[in-house]
Amino acid sequence: MNRLNKMTVMQSVVWPLLLWPCLQTVSVPLNCREDQGGVNRCPSISQEKLLDRVIQHAELIYRVSEESCSLFEEMFIPFELQLQRNQAGYACITKALPIPSSRSEIQQISDKWLLHSVLMLVQSWIEPLVYLQTSLNLYDVAPDTLLNKTKWVSEKLISLEQGVVVLIKKMLDEGLLTTNSEQGLFHNDAQPEMLESVMRDYTSLSCFKKDAHKMETFLKLLKCRQTDKYNCA
């Protein structure tokens, strides 16, 4: 246990240090709150830069979520069950969302739809991540790195949401409310019964990883379209 603690302490020290430069570049908050008066107090930032930063965010979230998932898998999931995370009987939370599933399909949907899909994904994961965090905290032997990573991810997700909202506003000239609308998604789809919370958390993590990949891909495709419309189609 001592060794584990030492390792985790070291990791918890090293990990923020490693992330520090990333955090520096990425974690500038966007004070884009929509007041009732509708005054837009966003600092002026070009759309291109905003998109770049959003993409950076999404990529980082995807990587960290993948690392969390691997960590969890290593520690808690025996090998035989690793391939069965998508057993019949349960699915990811966001299975209800109409997400295109092939490149050709994705290429056919519009920018607006891409952005909205991303926003839906983001918003639908904010609360489940919090739930996941509380669940992980109940573990005895969860390493601190894992907990820190998931915590980091859930924080970053919120800022990603903000970014996407602003992006939507800039690109599509739409106003959107944040966070509150999709909250029901979590409760709607009743989680099928899990035998163990471990499997549930594992499913959660891997589903989130998949969705993070989706977010990242959509945003990148969006960027490609912005810069060079003809080659991306």
């Binding site: 990529e59 993948e66 391939l83 019949a88 490149r103 891909t217 945003l219 990148k220």
Partner: protein, 784 residues
């Protein structure tokens, strides 16, 4: 009776022998030599064998002879062309004596051909018996755990010419435990499968062959054994599905050791994807396209591929009754990108020494991966190694298509390759083609310069070391100046060495005025001036008071004069080599004499003083003439230092003695001095002192002016005057010095009385500094 008894064993023996012979004849029938068989392996040669039988002893070769005749040569019988040498009783017919389809008759005859034991008649093809097949081999085909099939293969015997003969084979096998051989019928191919083996023991298998339409089988081959356990059982199974661009993928499987290995389409692949809930449920579909270029592979094109969806792929048998294997995956997890292309390198720089260089590597993402759109984000890993080593060095992952590699070795071949994987993926693709990098090391100018520089520095250092070592003493002198040796002004340093104590004592005991500066004025030589303060017992510094008898007990401190010592070294009494005995001892006997003489002189001096005016010449121009007694010799002689004296440097005795010559200047002829001959150290007695004076006069003073020996003034003054004393030199009084009033006719010093103690011999103190001495100029003021 005895005879009968002795005869009995003999008779018994005869009976048994004959019985034996009879028995043998009865038991073993007589067997004549006969043929055991003639056999041909390949219808081109054949051999015949026979048995010698038991009738006679036919062990000798040539006892039995074989003769043959074939239809061609109907007339003659010919003997065996070649009796086999390695096996007895065998005859070999090679190709020249063999012809097929001919009727052969072979006969076995005795040596003399009188008896014919056996005969054989055959045609060649009748006796054809092929050799056993070779290279019997088996492989296993598993059906179930206990049931398996054996696939046999072998090769025909090498002697059989396949075009000539068609062979038929027979495979026999049996369980190792039983004795019964089972045969599987005649085959014409060289392979065979035995089905339905039970794994309840090992089996033995053998093969033999015969000619088609022949009758005789050849010999059996060597048996092979099939073990009963330890062979793997492998069902058909899926080996994996992989995608290279996240839009298409392939699934492959392996047939295992199934019996249906050679039959295509015995295995079928089915798949199903989890679709969205509001789309209708999808059923199992078969592989859209079984690969044609590669067996056992199924290709899913774009229309059948969905990302982020759950796939299930199953392998079925042909009739779908058996499901062999299933795997589940999602497309993004099985992506292994193609290797990067266009690997290229440019030289960044070469190190100064020319031994290492840096390069910038660049490549392009694989064409199949759509990186531009962002569909796939790739991470690259570069590996490089020195061509001679086996270890690949892997560089950290990069997202860009460039990477610099530092520190490669010149003049060596380096192999570099790249591979990539999806960002946050787990599976790497294949490595790209390796590119060889070779940079010859540039001209070694830089390196030689460095080497030369180092060499030069080393030489310099060596030279410096040599110089230092050779000039060690001088350097030591410069760096650590030695303590100057003892040197006393006026004293030869030789005297300061050991063994010269007496001379030194005499020297040091002498009056400072009469010392070496008269003859050894080397201003540049540093003399050690004696430290009077440390020599309280040295009476060389006697005050004139000390000369007085009465003042002997008084505290005359010879060292009252402040002693200025400039010299750092002090050859003084502190030096253990130098004697520090009370020097006054030699003085003491003198002093009473002195005082005596003084007194005597005093009296005498008083008297003639007023009268002696005519005899006393006063020094011209001087109120009082001072002189110094520079030394009182042991001879009792007094050496005065003349005022006008020129340099005293003329030392007569240079042999280390302190000889003081008082030289009087020629112009001061009025001054009469007695120059005491330097004697050998110390003071002689007063008696002797007087004797010395003529010597002195004849000696090297050369000056007319002489001063009568002081010490033995009274009785011996008269003999003193043999010397050419011309004038008397009255000396004016002085508080320190005893003034010689005049020298009377008797050539005795008349010391003038003064307020200070009456005329006394001047024994001046040892003046500490040269400055304290009376210079020769001052001596001129001494009035005779």
């Amino acid at each position: 009776m005895a005879v009968a008894l002795t005869m009995l064993p003999f008779l018994l023996h005869i009976f048994t022998a004959s019985a034996q012979e009879y028995a043998s004849e009865r038991v073993l029938p007589r067997i004549n030599p006969h043929f055991t068989g003639c056999v041909s392996a390949n219808l081109e040669t054949f051999l015949c064998r026979w048995n010698v039988g038991t009738s006679k002893n036919f062990s000798e070769p040539g006892d039995l002879r074989l003769f043959y005749k074939n239809k061609e040569q109907a007339k003659e019988w010919r003997e065996c062309p070649h009796y086999s040498t390695d096996t007895p009783n065998e005859c070999f017919f090679n190709q020249s004596h063999t012809s097929a389809r001919l009727d052969y008759r072979v006969q076995l005859r005795s040596r003399d051909q009188d008896i014919m034991y056996d005969e054989n008649r055959f045609e060649l093809q009748d006796i054809a018996r092929p050799d056993p097949p070779v290279g019997l081999n088996w492989t296993l085909r598993i059906v179930t755990d206990n049931n398996y099939d054996i696939i046999l293969s072998w090769k025909p015997p090498p002697s059989a010419d396949m075009g000539w003969t068609t062979l038929q084979y027979e495979v026999q096998y049996r369980n190792a435990t039983s004795d019964q051989w089972k045969a599987d019928g005649l085959l014409e191919s060289t392979h065979h499968s035995i089905l339905g083996f039970q794994t309840n023991g090992s089996h033995e298998i053998r093969v033999r062959c015969k000619r088609l339409a022949g009758e005789q089988f050849g010999e059996f081959s060597q048996s092979v054994f099939v073990p009963s356990e330890g062979f793997p059982q492998e069902n058909p199974h899926l080996t994996g599905c992989v995608s290279n661009n996240m839009e298409t993928f392939r699934c492959s499987w392996s047939v295992g050791t199934s019996r249906s290995v050679s039959e295509p389409r015995n295995l079928r692949l089915f798949y199903i994807t989890k679709q969205l809930p509001h789309t209708p449920p999808v059923e199992w579909r078969e592989c859209p396209h079984y690969s044609t270029d590669r067996p056992n592979q199924c290709f899913f094109n774009q229309s059948h591929t969905s990302v982020w969806l759950d796939y299930r792929v199953q392998l079925h048998s042909r009739d779908q009754d058996i499901m062999y294997d299933e795997i589940r995956f999602e497309l993004q997890d099985i992506v292994e990108p193609d290797p990067p292309i266009g690997l290229n390198w440019t030289l960044l720089n070469v190190s100064v020494t020319g031994t290492s260089f840096d390069i910038m590597l660049s490549w392009n993402p694989p064409q199949s991966a759509d990186v531009k759109m962002g569909w796939m984000t790739l991470q690259y890993e570069v590996g490089y190694r020195n061509a001679i080593s086996d270890q690949w060095e892997m560089v950290d992952l990069v997202k860009t298509t460039r990477r610099s590699i530092f520190g490669l070795q010149t003049n060596a071949n380096h192999e570099i390759r790249v591979r990539c994987k999806m960002l946050a993926g787990k599976l790497f693709g294949e490595f790209s083609e390796s590119v060889i990098v070779h940079v010859p090391s540039k001209a070694v100018s830089g390196f030689t310069m460095l080497a030369l520089f180092i060499f030069g520095a080393l030489c310099l250092v060596t030279i410096l070391m040599l110089v230092i070592i050779s000039q060690q003493e001088k350097l030591m002198v410069i760096l650590l100046p030695p303590v100057p040796g003892p040197k006393i002004r006026g004293v030869d340093p030789e005297l300061l060495k050991k063994g010269k104590l007496r001379e030194l004592r005499s020297i040091l005991g002498g009056y400072p005025d009469l010392r070496s500066e008269l003859y050894n004025k080397d201003p540049w030589v540093e003399f050690i001036d004696l430290d009077i303060e440390e020599q309280s017992d040295r009476l060389t510094d006697l005050d004139t008071d000390c000369l007085m008898e009465r003042s002997l007990t008084s505290n005359c401190s010879p060292l009252s004069i402040g002693f200025r010592d400039d010299d750092s070294g002090r050859a003084s009494c502190c030096d253990p080599d130098l004697p520090c005995e009370p020097e006054p001892s030699p003085f003491i006997p003198l002093i009473p004499n002195l005082t005596e003489s003084r007194d005597s002189e005093q009296t005498s001096s008083h008297v003639p003083n007023p009268n002696v005016g005519e005899h006393c010449f006063a020094a011209p121009g001087r109120e009082a003439l001072y002189t110094q007694v520079s030394e009182v010799r042991s001879s009792g002689k007094v050496l005065l230092s003349p005022e006008d004296q020129t340099e005293v440097g003329q030392s007569t005795s240079k042999d280390g003695e302190k000889g003081i010559l008082l030289e009087k200047k020629k112009e001061n002829t009025e001054l009469q001095f007695l120059v005491v001959n330097p004697d050998h150290g110390g003071y002689t007695s007063e008696l002797n002192a007087g004797k010395r004076s003529p010597r002195v006069s004849s000696g090297d003073m050369g000056e007319p002016c002489q001063i009568a020996g002081y010490s033995s003034s009274t009785p011996s003054l008269s003999p003193y005057h043999k010397s050419d004393t011309t004038t008397a030199c009255p000396l004016p009084p002085a508080p320190v010095y005893t003034v010689v009033g005049c020298v009377n006719r008797q050539y005795s010093l008349l010391l003038t009385p003064n307020s200070t103690p009456p005329p006394q011999l001047i024994i001046p103190k040892i003046v500490p500094t040269p400055g304290g001495y009376l210079t020769p100029e001052l001596l001129g003021s001494v009035t005779p």
